[in-house]
Subunit: 129 residues, 2 copies
């Protein structure tokens, strides 16, 4: 892996993912589980859990890099737009720093929707194990 490398994957936020997250973590907040509540707050429908995007980061780091012997050191995420059920999102991560002395790789990433709007963005740092 070298600076400038880009790793991407497309995800559909389907019911399997939403239900899997809901059943695992038991967050029943009405913003995520009640369309009427979400609409009353100005959203199109129930808003997907933001942390579903962090699950997609886990997949990208665990499965889409050229090496498997990695562990996450840190992450940041800033949410910009809501995601709804069955939305397709593109995760694109660029390797922005290689710090061999501390065995660390830093990436900047964005999630965009099919209109190419920024949904969320942030950084993550990983190390080799």
């Amino acid at each position: 892996m070298k600076e400038g490398d880009v790793f991407e994957n497309r995800f559909v936020v389907n019911e399997l993912i939403f239900d899997g997250f809901r059943n695992a973590f038991r967050d029943e907040n009405p913003l995520h589980t009640n369309d009427s509540f979400a609409k009353s707050k100005g959203f199109e429908s129930a808003v997907m859990y933001g942390n579903i995007l962090n699950g997609f980061l886990s997949y990208l780091i665990g499965e889409c890099l050229p090496v498997k012997n990695v562990i996450i050191h840190s992450q940041t995420i800033k949410y910009s737009l809501p995601v709804y059920l069955n939305d397709t999102v593109l995760l694109s991560a660029k390797l922005t720093g290689v710090f061999e002395s501390v065995n660390s790789f830093e990436f900047k990433y964005t999630f965009t929707n099919v209109k190419n709007q920024n949904i969320a963005s942030g950084k993550f740092q990983i190390g080799l194990i």
Copy 2:
């Protein structure tokens, strides 16, 4: 909610949570799914997905605050120690900043294990909807 308020919840990283995350996000990285691989890298056994902790943050924010009409603006997390299957973790979040002009509340949080060691820590910002 006022500055200094603390919100806590204890979680057990059980099979339901691990399998739910694995089935939803399909991260089959051997660090998380292969005990022998994880042991060969110096861990006790397969390491739980770090982003399971972000699922617990979702629960705390969605379910354990005195208000339900909240949405996450941003999060950070820094991982310090691995988490293993059936570990109990305590999430403790302290309200460190109320910014009424931008409708934003900032929290600092830690995850600790039963030995009171820091597992992970970070910040999150939420807004009222």
